[in-house]
C-alpha cells in the first residue's frame, strides 16, 4: 500500500470531486460540537474536531432500520440499504470500535443487514488533532490504529500524509494529487502517533487495559455497583453514545390492511429498565446496580473473549460526557476497583 503527501488545498479538491460521485458522510460542526452528517462541500469538513456527539456507528447500524416486510401467514422480504458511501474523518478509537463490530456481527448469526452496509462503506480515518475533554484512548491502546480503514489521513501541519489500507483505498489514493511521502513527512507522522499514544488520556487507567478481565473476575460483589447505581437515571445515554454498544430490540408493525407489515430494529441499551424483561414479565437483571455492573463487565470481560482479547471500550469518553450524574466513566470505576482489590 502506498503513502502520499498531499496539501490541504489539494485534499479539499479531492473531497469535492468525491462528493460529486458518491454520498460522503463527514465530520461537521453542530453548534459548538461536532457530528457526522452528509457532506455537501469540503469547506464544511472539520478534521480538526475533538469528538463527535454520535460515533460513526449509526451509518452501519442505524438507530432504527426496517429488517423486512411481511405478510401475516405469508412471505417475507428482507430489506437492505445497498448504496455505497464514504465515511470521512473517523478517529482511530472509532475505527477500532468498527473493527470490533465487524468481527462481532460476522460471528454466530452473520448479520446481513450490518454487513451489507459495511461492505458498501469506504472509510477514511484520520488521526486526532485535538484531544477531547474526556478521551482516554491512550489508556485503552486505541489512540492510533493500524487497520480497518481504506485510507488513513494524518495532519502533519500544512499537509496530510495519506496511506491506503486496502485495494479500495489504493484506488482512491491514485485519484489524489500529491507526491510520494518523503522521509520528513513520515517522521512528522511518527511524531503525531507517539504524541497521541500518550496524550489522548484525560482519564488515566491505573493498570494495563489487558488486565481488566482479570480485575473483574474478583469484583462482581463489590459495593461500587450499588453505590453508583443509586444516582443512575437508567437513561441509557451511556449506551446510546457508545461506539461499541450494539444491542437492539426488534418490533413489528402492521399496515392498515392488518395483513402486511414491517419488522424494525432499534437501538436498545442494557441500562434501561425492562432491557432484560422476557415473556411472562420475568426480568432477570432488574436492580439498576446489576445493569450498571453489566455494562462495565460487558466492555471488559464478556466481549473480549469474542474479539481476541481486545477490551470493548475504546476510550472515546462519550459516555463520560453523556452521563448527567457523572457515574458512567469506565476509568473511574475500574480505578476504584484497582484501589480496593489491587493488581495481580
Amino acid at each position: 500500500m502506498s503513502v502520499k503527501k498531499i496539501s490541504k488545498d489539494d485534499f479539499a479538491v479531492f473531497v469535492d470531486a468525491l462528493i460529486g460521485k458518491t454520498s460522503v458522510i463527514g465530520v461537521q460542526a453542530k453548534g459548538d460540537r461536532f457530528d457526522f452528517a452528509p457532506l455537501e462541500s469540503a469547506k464544511d469538513l472539520r478534521l480538526d474536531y475533538d469528538v463527535t456527539l454520535q460515533p460513526p456507528k449509526k451509518y452501519l447500524l442505524p438507530p432504527t432500520e426496517v429488517l423486512m416486510t411481511f405478510e401475516i401467514g405469508g412471505a417475507y422480504h428482507s430489506q437492505y440499504q445497498d448504496q455505497p458511501f464514504v465515511l470521512l474523518g473517523v478517529h482511530p478509537y472509532d475505527m477500532v470500535a468498527i473493527n470490533q463490530m465487524d468481527e462481532l456481527f460476522q460471528q454466530d448469526n452473520y448479520d446481513t443487514h450490518y454487513m451489507k452496509r459495511r461492505d458498501n462503506a469506504t472509510i477514511i480515518a484520520c488521526d486526532v488533532v485535538k484531544p477531547s475533554e474526556n478521551v482516554f484512548a491512550s489508556s485503552m491502546g486505541t489512540a492510533v490504529v493500524r487497520g480497518g480503514y481504506d485510507i488513513l489521513l494524518t495532519d502533519v501541519g500544512g499537509a496530510y500524509v495519506v496511506e491506503s489500507g486496502t485495494p479500495k483505498g489504493e484506488k482512491l489514493l491514485a485519484e489524489m494529487k500529491g507526491t510520494v511521502a518523503d522521509e520528513a513527512a513520515l517522521k512528522s507522522r511518527d511524531a503525531v502517533w507517539s504524541k497521541n499514544e500518550k496524550g489522548l488520556n484525560r482519564h488515566e487507567l491505573k493498570c494495563d487495559a489487558a488486565y481488566l478481565p482479570r480485575l473483574l473476575e474478583k469484583a462482581y460483589d463489590h459495593p461500587v455497583w450499588a453505590e453508583r447505581a443509586k444516582t443512575c437515571f437508567a437513561c441509557g445515554s451511556c449506551n446510546q453514545v457508545c461506539p461499541t454498544c450494539y444491542c437492539f430490540n426488534v418490533q413489528d408493525d402492521v399496515n392498515w390492511d392488518l395483513q402486511t407489515g414491517k419488522r424494525e430494529r432499534a437501538w436498545d441499551g442494557c441500562l434501561l429498565d425492562g432491557f432484560t424483561k422476557v415473556a411472562g414479565e420475568h426480568e432477570f437483571r432488574n436492580p439498576r446496580s446489576d445493569r450498571f455492573r453489566h455494562r462495565l463487565y460487558r466492555k471488559a470481560k464478556y466481549v473480549p473473549p469474542k474479539i481476541g482479547g481486545q477490551i470493548a471500550c475504546v476510550g472515546c469518553g462519550r459516555c463520560v460526557a453523556a452521563c448527567l450524574p457523572d457515574i458512567a466513566n469506565p476509568v473511574s470505576v475500574y480505578n476504584r476497583l484497582i484501589d480496593d482489590l489491587g493488581i495481580g
Binding site: G31, A234, G236, V254, L258, L272, D273, G274, A322
Partner: protein
C-alpha cells in the same frame, strides 16, 4: 369480524389531541376503513350508546363527569385515555396545587364563579376514576403512536409503549444535552415515545408524557447540585405536567 365501533368522548381539555386525528389526513380514511366511528362530537352529529372502543380525551373535574365516565366504561370493551389531560391529569392539575378551590374559581371566573355549571372539584386523570386499558401519552399525542396503538388493538396485540426516559431518543438523535447549555430538562425522568420532540428543537422537555414508572428523582437532585442550580429550579419545571403526582417535589 365486523368492524369494531369506536366512540370518542371529550372532558376537560383543549381538544388539541382530537385535532391530531383530523391532522391524520389520509390515515384517517385508513382508520375509518377498519373501524366505525359512531360518536365524535368534534366531527359529527350522530351519537351512540353502542361501541367497543371508547377513547377518552381530557381530565375529570366535576362529579357529573365522573358519573358519565363510569357509564362509558361500563359500555366499552376497551377504554383508551388520550393525551396528557386524560393519562396524568395534565395541565388541568395545576389547580390542585391550591387548597381553596373557591378562590381559584373567583380568580378565573370573577363574579360568574358561583354559576352551577362551574361547580368543580380537584382534577383527576381518567385512570383515577375508571380502569384504563391503554394510555396514549403526550400533550398533544403523537399521531404515529396513536395509530400504532389502534392497529395493535385491532390485531389483538399489546402495543409496546416505552418506559424508558426521553434521553434515549434524544441521544440517538445526536442532540447535545441541554443541561450543558443551562436548561433544566426533565428528559431523564420522563417517558420517551415522542422522539425527543422538544430537545431536538432546542427546548427542554417539560414532561408532557408523564414520569417513567421508576424515575430517579434523587439523582435529579444531585444533578441540580452539580450544575449549580437549586431544587427550586427543578420544582418549577415539574409542576406544569406533574402537579399533585408522585414523585414531583413539593415544599
Amino acid at each position: 369480524m365486523s368492524k369494531p365501533k369506536i366512540a370518542i368522548f371529550d372532558f376537560a381539555c383543549c381538544e388539541g389531541c382530537q385535532l391530531q386525528f383530523v391532522n391524520l389526513e389520509e390515515e384517517l380514511l385508513d382508520l375509518i376503513g377498519v373501524a366505525d366511528v359512531v360518536e365524535w362530537r368534534e366531527a359529527m352529529s350522530e351519537k351512540s350508546d353502542e361501541y367497543d372502543i371508547a377513547i377518552i380525551e381530557g381530565s375529570i373535574t366535576r362529579l357529573e363527569d365522573e358519573e358519565r365516565l363510569k357509564l362509558i366504561r361500563s359500555r366499552a370493551k376497551i377504554l383508551i385515555a388520550l393525551g396528557a389531560c386524560a393519562t396524568i391529569g395534565g395541565v388541568n392539575k395545576l389547580k390542585n396545587n391550591f387548597d381553596d378551590l373557591d378562590e381559584v374559581k373567583k380568580c378565573v371566573y370573577g363574579t360568574d364563579s358561583k354559576k352551577p355549571h362551574l361547580a368543580t372539584q380537584p382534577t383527576k386523570s381518567v385512570g383515577e376514576v375508571v380502569d384504563v386499558d391503554f394510555h396514549v401519552h403526550g400533550c398533544p399525542i403523537d399521531r404515529k403512536e396513536f395509530t400504532y396503538i389502534v392497529r395493535c388493538l385491532l390485531l389483538g396485540k399489546t402495543p409496546e409503549i416505552p418506559d424508558y426516559p426521553v434521553c434515549v431518543e434524544c441521544k440517538a438523535k445526536g442532540n447535545p444535552c441541554l443541561w450543558q447549555y443551562g436548561q433544566v430538562c426533565l428528559g431523564p425522568i420522563i417517558r420517551a415515545g415522542c422522539g425527543a420532540r422538544c430537545p431536538s428543537n432546542g427546548f427542554r422537555c417539560f414532561g408532557c408524557r408523564g414520569y417513567t414508572s421508576n424515575p430517579n428523582v434523587d439523582a435529579a437532585k444531585d444533578v441540580i447540585d452539580k450544575f449549580g442550580l437549586t431544587v427550586d429550579h427543578l420544582k418549577t419545571k415539574m409542576v406544569l405536567f406533574g402537579s399533585r403526582q408522585e414523585p414531583t417535589i413539593y415544599g
